[in-house]
């Protein structure tokens, strides 16, 4: 189903442009040029963020953080095997998906651990990524409480996934 959405919406937009008799191709190239400028403006942010995450994972810092947090996860009845996903998700979507892959392979897809990990992975968002690219594109220096509110959302979705995977 989802395979149809993108091509159809593009076709509709282009067709609508023709109906309204605007210069479709010129509009496209003009917008595309702006798009690539935006992409360049956020490139430094992407490099910094991704390298930092890769180093964080490779250094074993992730494992250390997980073992520090495991008493808290016990308290919240969250399986400790999903903690790496909980920690990586705010930074990197693909990183979290890779970790989910491991969890499903090792602990089974229909197990409590597997389901919690899956729900956590799809109900959280990459907060740090969103905050850094959106603000760096417009050169905002003071983001006030954006990051805090975003991380509260991540935290909530992590805890709630554990609760809801038991009942649904």
């Amino acid at each position: 189903m989802t395979a149809y959405i993108l091509p159809l919406s593009i076709a509709m937009i282009v067709a609508f442009g023709f109906v309204k008799k605007i210069d479709v191709f010129n509009s496209f190239t003009f917008g595309a040029k702006e798009g690539i400028n935006t992409a360049f403006s956020i490139f430094p942010t992407i490099v910094g963020l991704i390298v930092a995450i890769e180093m964080f994972k490779a250094s074993g810092a992730l494992d250390i953080f997980c073992s520090i947090l495991s008493p808290i996860s016990n308290f919240l009845s969250l399986p400790k095997e999903v903690l790496p996903i909980f920690l990586i998700k705010p930074f990197s979507g693909s990183g979290a998906t890779a970790l989910l892959n491991n969890v499903l392979e090792n602990y089974g897809v229909d197990s409590f651990i597997g389901r919690t990990a899956a729900i956590m992975c799809s109900s959280g968002e990459t907060t740090f990524y969103a905050v850094s690219i959106y603000y760096s594109a417009v050169n905002i220096k003071n983001i006030k409480y954006t990051l805090f509110a975003g991380l509260i959302a991540n935290f909530a979705s992590g805890i709630l996934s554990g609760i809801f995977s038991q009942y649904f």
């Binding site: 989802t2 992409a39 490139f43 417009v138 905002i140 991540n154």
Partner: protein, 190 residues
Amino acid sequence: MLVSVVCGIITGNINDVSGALFSGTESALELFFTTGMMMCFWGGIMNIAQKSGASKGFSMLLTPLIKVLFPKLDINNDASKCIAMNISANVLGLGNAATPFGLSAMKELQEINDNKDVASEYMITFVVLNSVSIQLIPTTVAALRQKYGATDPMDITFAVIIVSLLSLLIAMLSRYILYFFSKTKRGKRI
């Protein structure tokens, strides 16, 4: 990064850390190519939609939602249109398409921002909205679950939607609590 280097030295993983330096830059370049080209392409498509007036009609559909989340924002402003496109791309799970719309929305919001260095209240709401998952169908995860032979790969959908909505609610609540907190602390309107 400092933490990573220190941890790498302590745990003896420092070789992996320097390896990550290279693999990290490589995957950053990869991400840049895919998302950058997506932004280029969608920038073009979006411009057609804007010129032809299609995006205006589209944002009308989401007007009630935008009115609630962004009170007092002019619905005919380009920012509202970009926000509408961003929200709908996110709901459909088209993350790559959502980012370019979101970036244009930020640019439009910056135009009407009084202080160009400080995030406006609209921007905060918008970025928080983008740091919460509002995807309707968890396609990527469902595909992974299918791969490992889940009895019903989609049966997490209901739980995912509830968890997402609750965390969205919590995020927005905490966002407004923090807003009133900072307002009273400074003793004046911001």
